[in-house]
């Protein structure tokens, strides 16, 4: 699969799982996308560690000190899997995977060259020495425990936005 | 050609008309049915309840009566499945009977299997009347894999309208010994099946297994419904 198709397939499948999806080609567009999805006065947690995170951290007027008090986490994630529209969050490099779990809104930035075609490709790549925590995230949290009626937003995020760069 | 007819204990004892209809159908399509007089029961009731010895006793009688090379035809999906699927297991320790069991399994046809695959009866322009719906019995459908044949036959009936039933292959609750062991659940399942049948609006319900049809009849009777319940053999034979 070529890169463009991979990105498209990934976002298509992510959207089917009720994730908001955005595709941008540069930092400028990334900032615009963030401006659209993040409410202006929300306390935002952004780790500010990766280059992309550093590039966007300053645009948020209200910054949360940590993810437990944030309304939104904006972060770059490890990668993605096109087959299922899945984000990969990894604890490698001191990343706090819970940052994308506790706040009600998770905005995940993922680089195009970090998309795996299939689940097999992904697990083949990580099966040797997995980090402490690898979490595959597909859409926001959900349940159908009451009468099998789908309810989005349970203990994890109620809203997931993915920005593909 | 000669075929050996296995009536089945239920048809023999309670629904002989279905057996006679089977004979007429086979003759119409060039098969001369021979009814080995010593036949009894395929042994399913005992086998399903966990009584291997009793099941073996019945199976030995079957293999004796139906020894040979001719096709065996039976108006029952569950009995054909019993012979095909479970007889070899019963004789795993008796090589000669094991061989006969395997051979019998290869020779046996459920009636609609024979009518469609061998006799091409669905192309013969059989006649029918009224509206018919179909209950797909569990062993017939899932163990034998007979799904299309009854449908082909029913939709070929000129003058009859076939009305498919939702969840046609959902269990009717007969389950052989199940109806005796858990009669309340059995009745509840039969009631639901009866409701599905009634919902089609058909004046007749048919199927390939008398056990199911008997259970369905009882449910319809309890509900005060006057839908006709007829074995597919009878329905098809009426159209000859």
């Amino acid at each position: 699969m070529n890169g463009a198709n991979r990105g498209r397939l990934f976002l298509e499948n992510a959207a089917k799982a009720a994730a908001g999806t955005h595709s941008v080609s540069d930092t400028g567009e990334l900032l615009s996308a963030l401006g659209r999805v993040v409410a202006i006065d929300s306390p935002v947690y952004c780790p500010g560690v990766t280059a992309l995170e550093k590039a966007v951290a300053s645009i948020f007027p209200v910054r949360a000190a940590d993810y437990t008090s944030a309304a939104v986490t904006v972060e770059e994630v490890f990668g993605a899997i096109a087959e299922t529209g899945t984000l990969v969050c990894s604890s490698e490099g001191g990343r706090a995977v819970q940052a994308g779990l506790l706040p009600a809104h998770h905005v995940a930035i993922v680089r195009r060259d970090r998309i795996f075609d299939t689940l097999d490709d992904f697990f083949a790549a990580v099966c040797g020495a997995p980090p402490t925590n690898l979490t595959l995230v597909t859409g926001p949290s959900r349940t159908a425990d009451i009468e099998l009626t789908l309810a989005i937003g349970v203990h994890g995020p109620e809203r997931l936005d993915i920005i593909l760069v | 050609m000669n075929v050996l007819l296995f009536g089945t204990c239920l048809v023999d004892t309670f629904f002989p008309e279905a057996g006679e209809a089977t004979v007429r159908l086979l003759r119409r399509f060039g098969a001369e049915p021979v009814f080995p007089k010593g036949q009894t029961c395929c042994g399913q009731p005992a086998f399903n309840a966990g009584y291997e010895e009793a099941a073996r006793a019945a199976a030995r009688r079957f293999l004796w009566e139906f020894d040979g090379d001719e096709p065996i035809v039976t108006p029952s999906g569950s009995c054909a499945a019993m012979v095909k699927h479970h007889y070899p297991l019963l004789f795993r320790d008796a090589p000669e009977l094991f061989a006969k069991a395997k051979r019998a399994g290869e020779r046996i046809y459920e009636l609609t299997q024979f009518l469609v695959r061998v006799a091409r009866a669905h192309e013969a322009g059989l006649r029918g009347k009224g509206t018919v719906t179909y209950h797909a019995s569990c062993h017939l459908t899932r163990t034998l894999g007979v799904r299309e044949e009854p449908l082909k036959l029913l939709s070929s009936l000129k003058g009859a309208t076939f009305l498919p039933m939702p969840d046609a292959d959902r269990c009717c609750g007969f389950g052989g010994t199940f109806m005796a062991k858990l009669p309340e659940v059995s009745c509840a399942l039969a009631d639901e099946k009866a409701a599905s049948i009634e919902a089609t609006g058909a004046d007749t319900v048919t199927g390939c297994d008398s056990g199911c049809l008997m259970n369905i009849s009882d449910a319809l009777r309890r509900r005060g419904t006057t839908i006709r319940v007829a074995h597919i053999a009878q329905l098809l034979a009426e159209g000859l």
């Binding site: 990343r95 690898l134 009626t149 309810a151 203990h155 | 007819l5 007089k37 009894t40």
Partner: protein, 455 residues
């Protein structure tokens, strides 16, 4: 034998269940919905049979080499920093876990859904030791509040309708009544958030355990599983030994099959792969990870004729299509595991003496065999247990005598013919004796049976 098990009263349980219109309606709606969702989810999947074959083969390999995979897992998980405990039985598992928690002074425990923890009756042991155990999966939260046990292995509160849940929350949480699932979910989110953040320990199960890397794999949707396993400083995972898979590279087959089979989703919202506790340089994970591997009879099952039940990956597809489960719900089965896989596993784990009525809880329709993603031969397993039931003397004496007589009659055409005549002649008597349950539902024998009509 398990405290509170009511499998011996299966028939009575079904009679009660059948008289409960709310339960019947809930079960009908649920199983209809499951059926549609599963079918829709698998419709676009090319090569489903090949996928099932692959998953089945992986599980077969695991069972054929289980002690080896378990040893390998223990070594890998230990290398990754987890403390691994082997629990031979339920009592040992309970005690190991109680001791770990008590040793850390844990008072508030948050728990993810774990059928194995129900199997060993963990909660009551911990509560008896003065700990607060909070079930955080929404379905488990509901039934814990109600004081009930789960009635389905994936959707524990499926027997309840929205009004019942609304009334429960209004009564126990003092919130205004609502029967809107969205509102009820938000109420639970709020109520449980502070429990997660203040818990001393989290207990979870695991869907799979990868032997190569010592990783635990959890398939979840709500986020509670993620909270429970990473937020509190101590994480205790309990799982039964047959949950092994050789390697993380075996996961894709199960990711493609399990969520679709269970709830009709292409993938669960979260698949967590947890390898050891927090290490130097990590900002994620419990500081301590204890893994309890439970046997509780599985090694014995593995050596017997019913071993294939251990292939089960706990997706729930079998119970979703079972006509008996649909009619009576999960509580009737009387123990942790209901439906077709429940018949087999309950009988094997708790013993024929405590469970034998369950082996009759099937019409042998085979719908379960059609949907099992790993090809567990459920009908054959149930038949095997019925044979065992008879061999071990748990069959009703009247039935034994009846079947012995059947064998003689079926072996002899003369006796068979005689039997037909007698049944025909004395049908009213047979009906009266045999009862309305059976003979009452059958027509009288034909005056002339088939064998006397044909040449």
């Amino acid at each position: 034998m398990s405290p509170g098990q009511t499998s011996l009263a299966f028939r009575e349980n079904t009679v009660l269940a059948l008289k409960d219109p709310a339960l019947r309606a809930a079960m009908r709606q649920a199983t209809d919905t499951f059926g549609t969702k599963r079918a829709d989810a698998f419709a676009p999947v090319a090569g489903l049979e090949a996928l099932r074959d692959r998953a089945s083969a992986i599980r077969e390999d695991v069972l054929s080499n289980l002690p080896m995979y378990v040893e390998r897992f223990v070594a890998s998980a230990t290398r990754a920093g987890a403390v691994v405990h082997r629990a031979n039985d339920a009592a040992t598992a309970r005690e190991i876990i109680r001791k770990i928690l008590a040793g850390r002074g844990a008072r508030r425990i948050v728990k993810g859904k774990s059928m194995v923890s129900e199997e060993v009756d963990l909660n009551s042991r911990l509560e008896a030791a003065g700990m607060e155990v909070v079930e955080t999966d929404l379905g488990e939260y509901i039934i814990q509040m109600e004081g009930e046990t789960p009635s389905h292995i994936i959707v524990p509160a499926i027997h309840k309708n929205r009004r019942q849940v609304g009334r429960l929350f209004a009564d126990r949480l003092g919130v205004p009544f609502s029967d809107d699932p969205q509102v009820l979910t938000k109420i639970a989110r709020k109520a449980l958030r502070e429990k997660f953040l203040s818990a001393d320990a989290g207990i979870s199960g695991a869907n799979f355990a990868a032997a190569d890397t010592g990783s635990l794999v959890l398939f979840t949707n709500e986020g509670n599983g993620r909270m429970v396993t990473t937020v509190p400083p101590l994480h205790v995972a309990i799982l039964s030994i047959e949950k092994m898979i050789p390697s993380l590279t075996d996961l894709p087959a199960f990711i493609r099959l399990l969520p679709r089979s269970a709830t009709g989703q292409p993938i669960t919202s979260y698949v967590s792969v947890l390898t050891g506790p927090r290490k130097a340089g990590d900002a994620t994970g419990a500081k301590e990870l204890h893994i309890v591997l439970l046997d509780n009879g599985r090694t014995e099952i593995l050596a017997g004729e019913s071993r294939d039940i251990l292939k089960c990956i706990r997706c729930g597809a079998c119970m979703n299509v079972c006509p008996v489960y649909r009619a009576v719900g999960g509580h009737a089965y009387g123990w942790t595991y209901p439906g077709p896989m429940g018949i087999v596993l309950t009988t094997l784990l708790t013993g024929m003496k405590e469970s034998h009525p369950l082996v009759d809880a099937s019409t042998l329709c085979g719908a379960c065999v059609d949907v099992c993603p790993v090809r567990v031969p459920l009908v054959d397993l149930i038949l095997g247990l019925r044979r065992r039931k008879v061999r071990e003397g748990f069959a009703h004496p009247a039935e034994r005598r009846g079947m012995e007589a059947f064998g003689k009659v079926a072996a002899s055409p003369a006796l068979f013919g005689l039997g037909q005549r007698l049944a025909g002649a004395f049908w009213p008597v047979v009906r009266a004796l045999g009862g309305k349950d059976v003979a009452g539902r059958m027509p009288a024998p034909a005056k002339t049976p088939l064998r006397r009509r044909l040449p």
